[in-house]
Point group: C2
Chain length 560, copies 2
């Protein structure tokens, strides 16, 4: 198991020294001129990204409000060009790195963790299937609709394949050569993903809008999947019979594509931040995952997980039926389950934070850009859930809905906000503490005499601390407890409990539970498109937040 | 004239040393525990700010989409509570600082520059007048409308008075005591201002929406200022005759209120960043403003300024008439003027950047948080203009408008984007260079022997540089030119020219030129509310950007 700041140098130390000499700088430092060049490169790539993004935003808005002037086909042409450019750069980058083994001398072990790459592949596969379905669907309209509608999914599929390959194998790269080209390429990649994300969110929101709008692109606006597609005023009919099935299927896969774009954006951004970084190697921790002595947290957590899975299955089954009463019951159970989960999690996080207050363990003082970035992503992605919860709360309070269903909904939203705040505080505090047992393993205690003297010198000082329990064992591995044992155990229990709860809170929205749409309050209260935009923007961030929390809590568990 | 990093220590050095001793740290450094406490405080205040903001956002959205459930009066009640809370904190802060003169030991001389404070007072006065007009208007509806509509402007007026006073006198404070309370107060202040900004943008956008929407709050949606107000379905009539005048007048003052909120937000954010900062005093530069030897830049700049003012007057006069042809002509002149201005500015910025490439002057290597923040604000505020320009360009290209008017509009938008990018690059490069003449004034040359030896030691090294022109004069003040004279002069010419052009580009939108609305393409192409939202969000940022650019270019001029 790897944690915090692990660094994987490539090649021998001599090679790196050579490289550093060639760059005329000691490892870990950069000259003023290079810093300046970095700043220029970052600025340039940032300018490119912003311009592409705002252009894309304007195009997407135009395609919504003036579908006659800017049709979805125009947006797809722009996107295809962008995706092809990005793909070309990605292929170039991989070829360049493969040819010159000095292009990447350092790897940031913390970047592109396995959960992120795993999620990327999972969502990437779903996106590929979506593209295949799209192509199959539009082949039926080829005789009367634009060929771009087939070309675009094909280009997107190619892009997803190449990008997933790149991010799987190169997410940890700290590129050293051709830095500015790499920066611009990565920013192009980021911008492309964000425009794909914007387009997908817009299409999904239009799709969920039940009220038919005659002046919008027809066919995408009705929730009942009409067999007619495109914006040709219904005159273009599908030439094969499977069209409606493909269409229904690929709409179910949209959320995965939205999620894929977010994951890829986050990874591209981290890679961009790492370009030219010379990772310092002194902080090299290894922690092992051990559940020994930890019982309550995992047990309660697994219980929550099972209960959550059960309610999720009930929810999905009941929602598929047409019985209104069953639907309401399923919603009630869902809200109740969520309310209980977030209440317990809030209490656990609060206790954890209180222990950190009592615990006098040192704070990590050194600057760690990867960790700051990680925390920034955690805080940023939590905004999505906040957005949905506050919009929900305002809708319930303002419409004075006093039935049990909405009371539960209100409680759930309010507690979710509290839970997220407390959990963020707990995770941040946990990540900023020095690991237990650090610097006390192995190297000193290999010598029995050293161990003996260590016992002598340590005992008086530990005796002075009245609350601490010191366990001294003999042998190669001596855990010198820096804080009292019960605190540490409790923190581990809490982290593992929170981790398991976050897993279930991730599973439910990621695999299709949409109480925000099934409970019609939001649609009734807000405009249809506003509410679906809020949920479609907020929910993918919420899913990302839960996955990220799981990873961060795992790290807190290892550090503790 | 003050520049860059000026610091104004308060009280004697002894007092500061005492304070540092009391805080148990050397000036300029903070202990790990304090850093941790700072981080906690920042996190807490950030969480408060984000929650208030998202709640406000949800309320504003609800008042737009469900005016029956969440009326504008509800939003005003929330805002009144927020503004009263913020006002209470501001009064407390000022009283506390006045009582304890150790609460603020350092002042950041770069924060709250005079242009920002001046702008704040100007826009504050306009906002106050707006509030008075609002109160006068709603007094006429008191017999049949909510009293909150009178209370809210009164509370807002009080808030503006107190906040302007606070920001005028305390914008430079680096608060040292009660840091976390101060952080939370400032974030409350920031959140309040941003919600006021959101509300004002929404009201202004609804107001500019000409198409009457029956389900929205009536009266606010028509551009022709009907004498009926409020959302009482037209049954509530004004009891005095001046209502319509007041109403028309206060709508003209809305943009100033939007601008005021932005300025106050920026200043509150800078103050928040400065809480607990121990400003290091070694970078204490004084630069004098001198135009000696600079001619072309000021002359061309003043010519542009006069031409701009002339076209602005023509524009405003023609727009007030009902003649369609005159309006079109005025628009053409406006676009032509802008196109010429931004073209010249782009060329100037490009030349300036080329000179910086040639110039080998050192880059400032030390970290300077105030400067980073400044550059961040510059880049951030330029996004507003980008937004408008890209939306404009997409609308023109997609609607295939080929007339002269829209060709000029397109050229103007495109060149504005290029100009902003080049100017940003020029300003950033300029601000990152070491000032000319640094460390060579006064203190060494006061002694004639030292001067003599200095001449001897300097001459050989300067002789080696073939391109440099060295002018050595005798006396107390010896400007040792680090770069060749012509480069420096040219940079000064360029900065002053860009500065003057930015002034005119600021004056036009700030005092009412709205070609985006007068040219009806945007309204026709996008949805009415979308286009007015884009312009109402983008334009205030654009105005802020121009003012900020003027200040930054002035600094570049002084450093050069």
């Amino acid at each position: 198991m790897t944690a915090a700041n692990e660094v994987m140098p490539i090649g021998a130390a001599g090679e790196k020294a050579q490289h550093a000499a060639r760059l005329a700088l000691p490892p870990g430092e950069a000259t003023a001129a290079q810093q300046q060049s970095s700043k220029r490169g970052s600025l340039l790539s940032g300018v490119i990204c912003i311009n592409i993004l705002i252009l894309g935003c304007a195009m997407v808005c135009s395609s919504v409000f003036s579908p006659d002037a800017v049709s979805p086909v125009n947006v797809q042409i722009l996107l295809s060009v962008l995706l092809l450019l990005t793909t070309a750069w990605m292929v170039y980058y991989m070829a360049y790195v493969a040819r010159l083994d000095k292009a990447v001398l350092y790897k940031d072990g913390h970047a592109g963790p396995v959960w992120l790459r795993g999620g990327l592949v999972l969502f990437g596969v779903c996106s590929l299937i979506m593209d295949v379905f799209k192509i199959a669907n539009y082949v039926g309209y080829m005789h009367c609709d634009s060929a771009v509608k087939i070309v675009f999914p094909a280009v997107q599929a190619l892009f997803i394949l190449v990008q997933t390959y790149l991010l799987w194998f190169h997410a940890k790269d700290c590129a050293q050569l051709q830095r500015n080209i790499t920066r611009c390429g990565l920013m192009l990649c980021l911008a492309s993903n964000l425009i794909v994300w914007m387009t997908a969110v817009t299409e999904e929101s239009q799709h969920q809008t039940v009220i038919p709008k005659s002046d919008h692109a027809a066919g995408d606006n009705n929730r009942v999947f009409p067999p007619v597609s495109g914006n040709k005023e219904g005159e273009c009919n599908c030439s094969h019979t499977a069209c409606s099935i493909f269409k229904e299927a690929y709409y179910y896969l949209y959320p995965f594509n939205i999620e894929y774009s977010l994951f890829a954006s986050a990874m591209a951004y981290v890679m961009w931040k790492n370009v030219g970084r010379l990772v310092d190697q002194h902080a090299h921790h290894k922690h092992r995952f051990r559940l020994k002595g930890i019982l309550v947290g995992p047990v309660v957590g697994v219980a929550m997980l099972v209960a959550g899975l059960a309610t999720f299955v009930i929810y999905e089954v009941d929602m598929a039926m047409d019985d209104k009463e069953k639907k309401e019951l399923a919603l009630k159970i869902h809200y109740l389950m969520n309310t209980v989960a977030v209440s317990l999690m809030s209490v656990a996080a609060l206790i954890g934070y209180a222990i950190y207050w009592l615990d006098k363990r040192d704070h990590v003082s050194e600057k760690n850009p990867t960790r700051s970035l990680d925390i920034g992503l955690l805080l940023g992605s939590s905004l999505g859930q906040f957005l949905i919860c506050y919009f929900n709360m305002v809708a319930i309070v303002a419409s004075s809905a006093t039935d049990v269903l909405n009371a539960l909904n209100l409680a759930c939203s309010l507690l979710t906000i509290i839970q997220i705040i407390l959990q963020n505080v707990f995770v941040i505090e946990g990540l900023h503490r020095e690991p237990f047992n650090e610097d006390h393993e192995g190297h000193v205690f290999a010598n029995p005499h050293a161990l003996h003297s260590n016992q002598e010198t340590h005992q008086p000082s530990t005796m002075r601390r009245s609350t601490s329990v010191v366990i001294i064992t003999t042998g190669m591995h001596v855990p010198v407890t820096l804080g009292p044992c019960w605190k540490r155990r409790l923190l581990k229990e809490i982290s593992i409990f929170l981790l398991l709860c976050n897993v279930i809170l991730w599973i439910m929205p990621a695999f299709g539970a949409r109480p925000q749409f099934d409970n019609e309050l939001g649609f009734r209260f807000y405009d249809y498109s506003t509410w679906s935009a809020v949920v479609n923007i907020g929910l993918p961030f919420g899913i990302f937040y839960r996955m990220h929390s799981v990873a961060s809590l795992f790290e807190v568990f290892l550090i503790t």
